[in-house]
Structures are given as structure tokens and as C-alpha cells.
Symmetry: C2
Subunit: 256 residues, 2 copies
């Protein structure tokens, strides 16, 4: 566990507002702002207006200001936000001042891609362990890390102070892996398997399901198609029934 935590600002003895409970929607956007800010910093900008930053992050500027105001951030009226300071603040709030150790369970197709991804390191994370249940995968070295057997999870968790577990196993194994992660004290899980996980209260699970994303896009495709197919009907397009007519290209063939 962590012993000494410095509640103040990371670098200077600034007065960092110390963890207000932010709206979830805000929390979800902070990483976007952070990425945009890093880009701006790399481009040499020292300050940025809410207008400029919101454009870079692809959001409404009022929303951005409100988000930042939630974490007590100080911009300067008439000037904007200090890029470096804002990066520090957001990184502090997101808990990125310490590099968190990630354990990746399931080093298959997807797991390999994740293990080889260098984008985590630059965003505050360190892949500290690769685990798999398949004996033939154990021992394999990827990116300087050796794949260990999933049964070693308790040892690994102690050695590396794992903060986050990533599940990239088949769905059938995901719940079991989640249970194992929880039992060794992991309280944050990112799940790539297409299934719901049940975990005790206090454990956070986020899921990424590509098929769901595609299906949502599919819905909008379907919708766009059905709208353009019925231009003349005006507002009634939404309620028009595809009863045989208009079954051209947009329609999913009623036939067998």
C-alpha cells in the first residue's frame, strides 16, 4: 500500500483544492483536456483560453469552463489558463502524479497489442505484469516483460502494487479473473471481454466492447438511411412503416 501521500500540489507548494467529488461527466472529460493540453504544451503554448482549449478537445467552451471550475482551477480572466499549471492540476486530480501499475490478464490476440502499446507509459501508467492461464504462453517475453501464470497473481500484486487490472481473456473466463483480481486487492478493472462482471461494492469496473460501438454506429447508419430514403414525407418519415414500399437499397431485404 501507499504510505506517504503528499496531499498538496505535485511540484510547488501551491494550494491544490484536494479532491472535490466531481460529476462523472466531468471526470470523463478531464483526460481529453489533458491530452489537448499536452499537445498545446508541445506546440509551445504557455497559456490557452477556454475557447482554444475547448476547440482542441472538441467540446463546448462553457462546459469546459464549468468542468475546470469544479476542480477549483484558477484561470486568469482576460488571459486564459496557464497550460503547465493546468496540466499539473488535472494530473493531480486524476491521480496521475504517481505512475500506476497495471496488470494485464489474458495475453492473446488483443493482449499482445495492449502489451506492446507504448501509449500507456506516456499517459501515466506502467504495465507491470502480463498474466495468462495457458502454460504455452507462460514464459513468453513481450516488450521486456515475461508472461507469468495467472496463479501467480497474489505474488505479482504484492511485488508490483498493482492498482488496475485489465482483463483481455475470453468472456467465459472474465468473471473468474475478476474475482481473482478482487481477491488480491485490485479495486479498479478495465474489462475487454463482452460480458457483465459482478464485483463487490467499492470496486470500479469499466468496459470496452468494440462490437457495441459498431452496433451503435450501425443504428445511426440505419437511421440515416431510412431518413434519406423518405425525403418527401417530411416529418412523418420517422413513423413511416416500411410495409413493402421503399424497400430499395436502404431496406434490409424482406425476402428470405
Amino acid at each position: 500500500m501507499s504510505q506517504h501521500r503528499q496531499p498538496g500540489a505535485p511540484g510547488r507548494a501551491g494550494a491544490v483544492p484536494a479532491l472535490p467529488d466531481l460529476p462523472e461527466a466531468t471526470v470523463a472529460r478531464l483526460p481529453e483536456y489533458l491530452r489537448a493540453l499536452h499537445n498545446l504544451a508541445d506546440a509551445g503554448h504557455e497559456t490557452v483560453s477556454s475557447e482554444g482549449l475547448s476547440a482542441a478537445a472538441g467540446v463546448n467552451s462553457a462546459k469546459l469552463r464549468k468542468d475546470l471550475s469544479h476542480l477549483g482551477s484558477y484561470g486568469t480572466r482576460g488571459v486564459g489558463y496557464d497550460v503547465a499549471l493546468l496540466i499539473e492540476q488535472i494530473e493531480y486530480v486524476l491521480g496521475l502524479t504517481q505512475r500506476r501499475a497495471v496488470a494485464l490478464v489474458g495475453v492473446g490476440n488483443l493482449g499482445h497489442a495492449l502489451a506492446g502499446y507504448d501509449g500507456f507509459a506516456s499517459r501515466g501508467f506502467r504495465i507491470a505484469a502480463l498474466l495468462d492461464a495457458d502454460p504455452s504462453r507462460v514464459g513468453e517475453e513481450i516488450n521486456g516483460l515475461v508472461v507469468r501464470h495467472v496463479d501467480e497473481l497474489p505474488a505479482v500484486a504484492t511485488e508490483e502494487s498493482i492498482a488496475i487490472g485489465v482483463i483481455a481473456t475470453p468472456a467465459a473466463a472474465a468473471q473468474r479473473v475478476a474475482d481473482q483480481l478482487v481477491s488480491v486487492g485490485v479495486t479498479s478493472i478495465l474489462n475487454f471481454a463482452p460480458c457483465v462482471l459482478s464485483v463487490p461494492e467499492g470496486v470500479d469496473v469499466r468496459k470496452v466492447d468494440l462490437a457495441i460501438e459498431l452496433q451503435i454506429l450501425s443504428f445511426h447508419e440505419h437511421r440515416k438511411a431510412s431518413l434519406t430514403a423518405l425525403p418527401a414525407t417530411g416529418g412523418s418519415a420517422l413513423t413511416a412503416l416500411p410495409g413493402g414500399l421503399a424497400a430499395t437499397d436502404t431496406q434490409e431485404a424482406i425476402g428470405t
Copy 2:
């Protein structure tokens, strides 16, 4: 309401409820229901109650009923929903009755994993083309598909009727690829590159950014840690400031 005329039933002469404009939140959950329903169908269930289905999908049962009511679905009071019928209806609404063709651009680390993933096929999609800009990758065969050069995109789009483009290139190339996709008529894009894309109106973009997911988890870790670290202070833990100038919390007061 509409008559009992064989609702859904894409196989028959169906008068399907035809695309009401669903709330986005509902659209995002329908794929979850669909997955749960397929599991139930495989397990031999013919009907399911809102309680049962909502548990399987990990949501509140009232929310599920409201979602289903939006798409005009008919359950049977006292009994529940017909599993097969509900699958048909949801698949119709999501536009999954036709298998949509997906073009994957960027066959690198992540792209390989996606190309080799069989989970798309079973959820309504067909990876119809693999494209890359690197000449040394062109010609490589993955899962029966040959990688083609990204400049062939116009030809590919015509041949395969691409409905959805997936971007798995580095961030620096993503906007350019998006422009190319749009120019060949693709109106739905799934973006894995960590950057914002600007696209014309009418084009839908969804993004998946793993680092963002991890950072959100990190925030909650940070928060949990800071709460357990200050057990005695109770509610004031949230507003405790290290510096003493507690001016900015909720209270606006006049300076001094």
C-alpha cells in the same frame, strides 16, 4: 397504437415499428440487451422477464422496460418477453439485419488484433477490407484477407459497400484517414487514435481511447485512497484544504 400485425419478423412480411428516434442512452444499451438475450437463447430460455433480463445486462429493470417500450416492443404482462422476438426487434432497430461491411485502416499492432478477432462476425459485422499506408505491410494476408494500400480506398469502398470505417493508425494520420473515408462516402467511423476528428455534419464518429479509461479508473483510485486516508474527518474530508485558504469552496463570500 398499431395493430397486431406480426411485429418485427424481418423474415415475414413484417410491419416493423420502424425507427422511432430513440434516446441516445437507450441506443447505447440495446447492444447490451442483445448480447444478454443471445446468451439466454443459447441457454434455452424462451421468455424472460424484465427483471431477469435487466439482471443479465446489469441494469435497472425499470430502465430496461422503458428502453424496450421506446421501440414499441411488446412484452406480455404476467409472462415477460419472448426472447427470440426481442432479439429480432432489437437487431432490426440496430440495423443488424444486414451484415455491414467494415474497412479497417491501419494494420499495425492493434489493427492485427482487430483483424483477427472473430467477435465481429457473430455480432453483425464483416471485416471487408484491411488497408495500410506502409508498402511493406501491403500484401500481407490476415485471416484470409489481403492488406491493400490505403490509396485503393475508393475502389474498395465501391467493391464492398463499406458502411463503417475503423481507424487504427497513429494519431498523426487519423484526420487524414478520416477525410479519405468521408470522401468515399463512409458516414460512420470508429476511431482508436487518441485525437479528435473533425468531420462534416452527418458523419458519426465514436472513439475508443484506452488511456482515457485507465485515467478515469485512476481518478476513482485516487479518490478512494484519499477517503480511506481521512476516516475521522467524516464529511469534511471532501472540502479539506491543505493550504488554509479555503476561500473557494462553495462559499462565494466577499473577499477578506
